[in-house]
């Protein structure tokens, strides 16, 4: 782990989430898969951080480990996941449930797998808020704010005035009736459906997932994740299943949401086009290791790790034609028997005698630019 001075921390902006030397393995009947081997990065407040790499590099496992959602055959071998200083890996099941409820939200690749097909869209966005009393005070305040805004525009109707009186009369922590809770939750759900630009939200509220297109379902997932106002949003390949024109709509939405929401975002993707479109910084992963971390412009202009260089050179670009395409020889290694030393060395065009023996540490070679390679 690198030791950073106070001044450095200041410059980098406060980290919401710090992942430190995270190691995870899976037990399978073929052997132990060493999926994460010392993953280390920070998520700064308000940023969109890209987590990129090819399939099997550990991007999704990293996200699942952060949310405590790893499958039963996974074991966290070591490391820390610090959310504002609190280690999520040490939390009990109930504490983790609370964390996922209030602080860390997920959006996954395929909305149909995560949306309940027999509940209407609106009611399942609202359900999250009704499911736990922790949202009660917040919902009351939210509604009171809304009524105050109405009032500043003009007089309240009699019903609205009565509602406000009733809500104000409630002491903090006093239980709302289920009916009132439901109404408040639904009104906030509708609000977030507007935030994610679902067309005709009042009508869509009552619709079922199968009636929506892929892009609309993904918007529903985003609304469901944001309605709890999380500190961290983990977005795992959220545009991969969408067509390019719909992907462009969702990327535009994410760009518009920045500034409107408090959440810092980890965007997991294999598509470097998507990354360069919306991320501030990028973490490049290979075979369970972080190999490079840099600002987006720096990474594309000046990639240091041979894997990053190979990856950038091998993406076909829509804006230029190349007669012969570059590629990285070989394929992604089997993580039951990962290569010794640097896990990239068997495919690396720049390897030298020390590479198979020494695991390169992640070092900061320039302010904000870290790389794990013995060349630097």
């Amino acid at each position: 782990m690198t030791v950073r001075s106070e001044a450095q921390k200041e410059r980098e902006g406060a980290a919401v989430l710090e992942v430190r030397d995270l190691r995870v393995s899976f037990h399978t009947y073929l052997g132990e898969v060493k999926a994460l081997d010392g993953v280390d990065f920070d998520l700064r407040r308000g940023e969109v951080l890209g987590l990129v790499g090819e399939s099997g590099c550990g991007k999704t496992v990293t996200a699942l480990a952060i949310g405590g959602l790893l499958s039963d055959n996974a074991r966290v071998e070591g490391g820390q996941v610090l959310l504002e200083g609190k280690d999520l890996l040490k939390e009990t099941k109930e504490e983790l449930r609370q964390t996922r409820l209030r602080e860390v939200s997920f959006v996954f690749q395929d909305p149909m797998t995560f949306i309940n097909p027999v509940l209407s869209v609106g009611s399942q966005i609202a359900e999250v808020l009704e499911s736990d009393r922790v949202f009660q005070d917040e919902l009351v305040e939210y509604r009171l704010d809304e009524l105050a805004r109405e009032e500043s525009k003009g007089d309240l109707t009699r019903a609205q005035a009565e509602e406000r009186q009733a809500l104000e009369g409630l002491g903090r922590g006093k239980k709302l009736s289920k009916k009132v809770l439901k109404r408040l939750a639904e009104s906030r759900a509708l609000d977030y459906m507007r935030t994610v630009k679902l067309p005709d939200p009042e009508r869509v509220f009552k619709m079922y997932p199968f009636e929506l297109s892929g892009g609309m379902r993904q918007r529903v997932m985003i609304a469901m994740a944001l309605v709890r106002r999380p500190k961290v949003l983990l977005a795992d390949e959220i545009t991969t299943a969408l067509d390019v024109t719909v992907q462009a709509q969702v990327l535009k939405l994410l760009a518009e949401l920045r500034g409107k929401i408090d959440a810092s975002v980890i965007l997991i993707t294999h598509d470097l086009g998507v990354v360069s479109e919306i991320c501030d910084r990028v973490v490049v992963m290979y075979a369970g290791n972080v190999v490079e971390v840099a600002d987006i412009d720096e990474l594309f202009a000046n990639p240091l790790h041979p894997y990053t260089q190979g990856l950038l050179a091998s993406i076909p670009r829509p804006d230029v034609h190349a007669e012969e395409m570059k590629s990285i020889s070989g394929s992604v290694p089997n993580l039951i028997f990962p290569p010794s030393g640097c896990r990239f060395h068997p495919r690396c065009p720049k390897r030298f005698d020390r590479c198979p023996g020494v695991k390169p540490p992640l070092v900061e070679v320039k302010p904000g630019h870290k790389v794990a390679c013995l060349l630097y």
Binding site: H270, G273, F300, P316, H321, M325, S327, S331
Partner: protein, 334 residues
Amino acid sequence: MAENLLEVQDLRKWFPIKGGLLGRTSGFVKAVDGATLGVEKGETLGVVGESGCGKTTLGRTVLKLTQPTGGRILFDGRDITSLRGRKAKPLRRRMQIVFQDPYASLDPRQTVRSALTEPMKIHGLARSRKEADAKASELISKVGLNPDHLARYPHEFSGGQRQRIAVARALAVSPDFIVLDEPTSSLDVSVQSQILNLLKALQRELGLTYLFISHNLAVVRQVCQRIAVMYLGRVVEMAETEALFESPKHPYTRALLSSVPIPDPSRRKALAVLEGDVPSPVNIPPGCRFRQRCEFATERCSEVSPPMKEVRRGQTIECLYDIDFATKRKVELS
């Protein structure tokens, strides 16, 4: 202009929707609905479009893996539209396909040797087992693997290697024409370019003609000489690759191209966003199929189905207008 190896005229493939107790046909999914295109000998023609536009159905129909509902297919000058069964067999030797997912397209219980020699046996291309084995060794080396791999089963290979095997199997009968249906979509980028380079090298060496179906515009730009853009079952624009990317003429092509993110933050631009979704291929709106999402649509677009017109040499569109996207001025095409 080179001669067309494959010609598709007004091709239609409708799938009936059966419903209810009696299994009556209640409508049709018009997957391909009047597509016209030609593939020149020795070229790679790209077919691009979003999911549901009919590109895969088009590929399967020209190979006669499904019977077309209407239209004509000519292969090497011969009408093959209604060829079936035994009569189609000589044709099948000349036309092959490589599918998207090599995990599904290879039989898990068949060795690589058997997968490569079986098509030779069926078409009588090897006189003896020895000859077939020798051919298999040659094929496997051609796709960048080695003859030791012949005795293995598909599960022993990575995705990229499996796709090489699928390519070798297609080549086993020495075809002239191969439909490549999203051949690299299930592969990682670092491996994808290996396969694309292989396909290009094989084409040069063997004089193959490809129909390259893909949703990835960046890939298509690297491998195709010409491109057909499909929307809701029709080819809405066809042009040489550079002309299409540099100056698309159909509003849909333009929207499609500008919604692809470029992997280079120094060229970060606001992505042009096409609103709405693709209409259902069951209830296709009359007139131009794209008009509801088109910013240039006029009254006439809802009345007339635009015929295919040549706007520039070698560039045809199905649009009533020749639009200058910079100035937004449009000239009606006569």
